[in-house]
Subunit: 384 residues, 2 copies
Amino acid sequence: MWETNYLNNLRTETPGCQHKIHLNNAGASLMPAPVIDAISEYLQLESITGGYETANMRQKSIHEAYVNMANLLNTKAKNIAFTASATDSFFRAISSIAFKQGDILLTTNDDYVSNQITFLIWQKRFGLQLVRVPNEPGGGLDLDAMEQAIKKYRPKIVSVTHVPTNSGLVQPVEEVGRMCRENDIIYLVDGCQSIGQLALDVEKIHCDFLSGTSRKFLRGPRGMGFLYVSDRILEKGYEPLMLDMRGADWTSENEYQSHSDARRFELWENSYALVLGMGAAAKYAYEIGMDNIEARVKKLADYTRKALFEIHGVKVLDQGKELCGIVVSQIEGWDRAKFKPLLDEKNINTSISDGDSAQTSFAKRGIEWGLRISPHYYEYGRGN
Amino acid sequence: MWETNYLNNLRTETPGCQHKIHLNNAGASLMPAPVIDAISEYLQLESITGGYETANMRQKSIHEAYVNMANLLNTKAKNIAFTASATDSFFRAISSIAFKQGDILLTTNDDYVSNQITFLIWQKRFGLQLVRVPNEPGGGLDLDAMEQAIKKYRPKIVSVTHVPTNSGLVQPVEEVGRMCRENDIIYLVDGCQSIGQLALDVEKIHCDFLSGTSRKFLRGPRGMGFLYVSDRILEKGYEPLMLDMRGADWTSENEYQSHSDARRFELWENSYALVLGMGAAAKYAYEIGMDNIEARVKKLADYTRKALFEIHGVKVLDQGKELCGIVVSQIEGWDRAKFKPLLDEKNINTSISDGDSAQTSFAKRGIEWGLRISPHYYEYGRGN
């Protein structure tokens, strides 16, 4: 699969590869040419034809973006909503649950900072109770503890970040999905860092919601997200608080009727240029094959961990049974403000993970900052 | 100001003018070249440099987009939040109020359909009570009735759509602002259809929130909106339910601290290409001058109304003391499905207003559909 010729073709389709060694795919990836072209071509058409007129003309292409996204998750177009970001998707999912005072949300210690802030404001405003299930000693969610917590607390919802932003950890989302289904609990998976790097199958995960972004490993444009919504949620009538004329019809002065598909979780206004860009990114990943991508990303990350391990004063922080394409390490004796610019100068893109944005993971372990290296399949590894 | 030479220069900067007579600016306008260029140039830079890396490099330009938007509203950059749409902005504003069962939201009969659906779901979920102030017999909000309603109901918030989507009406938002300030009521103005066609001054309007979009009369890209947030709201600590690491810092396991400026109402992820496009659109409008734009749009719309008045079987529906750039008319004896394609064939962009999306305005008046004509300053009028 990953012969040098094939890889070089993919690199040729990635203009950024000519300029940078891009190891910041967990921040935002480099868009391939089909993504850039889809956006540019649509914007040009809008500028000469009009925004609404272009959307009417290109209805078929817009629908294909939903199909492409659905294919990547093993679901149907009607279960996909497009949003402005993963956080936006996550919020719309959470907001569809009419929490009562004292309702419990069960999560992990590695859930994403923005989700944590969302939980806390819902706690403050609506009395939602937040319970975090402990990790195993070696890192990663303790599944026995999760099962016990589900039985003990009977949470209204379980929310798990598939791949935390500050570590290479892959959480066992399928096992948690089985528990939620058996106990009839709503299950929300944040796939922000897994979409585009790991093969995701919403049927296997058994989730009710899966939120994600376009810009990271999926290689789509910034400012776009998606939300998978299960048939179960749609049939039971869950509605996001952000409901407008896209998600519902205003049927009489004091009544509305929300739509039967995942469009219910969308808003009327969209940048269709970005929708098509995201659809092109999903198609691009699907055609390479998510199993192939996952294998290569894991291989490159393993290689990176091994290489870092051999450097004196560098400590790889990733913990857990299964690791993926995010590698975070502590660099002894360096100030974060001085270290990253050295890499920037060499045209190597990376990012810094802060303790402040990881109160329940980094901060607990006394870690101030880490260097985050997140390679994608289009980078050369040892051999190619 | 509007000599033919000047107008022709503006038209040359608008590629769509070569192909279409665009009378659908209340749907989405035609972007001028500086907007298209700002977006394209930024996307190209992202594709060769990386999404996060480009945002770091272009911090100054991104800040200027806030300044440009603030200038247009006579406020400061720190009072501007960028969002994905006007509805998104509107929702974030509403969500910052911790409504209690029975709290009253006072609005009009001409408020936008998506706002109405939002009110209804908040009514259903949180027991918010919706009260609509009646119109004057000749159309437009009855100011005496509004003042009485404010005193009678002591609403938690007053929400007024400045220019309804289905008529040329301009609501008296400054007068309502004075009443709200005198009675210490939170005041939200939906400026979705007024931004870019009317001169807006948040100090004169005395509003706490003003929401708006990029794609309509402002001539920016689709998929972008803004929210003005007053110092009063910021100082009193109102926080949107959609709060993430852009709007707040996670300070310890169970605490967060929201930011002091309008960034509190933003989410972390943005398409900065679209942010710059919107900033360029704001600058473009500011440089032409909002007073000049307002005068010309009103003149073109008046001319349109007069021309329609002379056609047998056509009835102009716009009602109210002050009218602007949206002209809606009933066309006797025509089916909506047959009429608009005739205009499309002649390369004239317009739109159809439905009774279904106007339950408290059209539906009450027994109107099934209307042809909406919304010219912008760059179209030729009588004379030029």
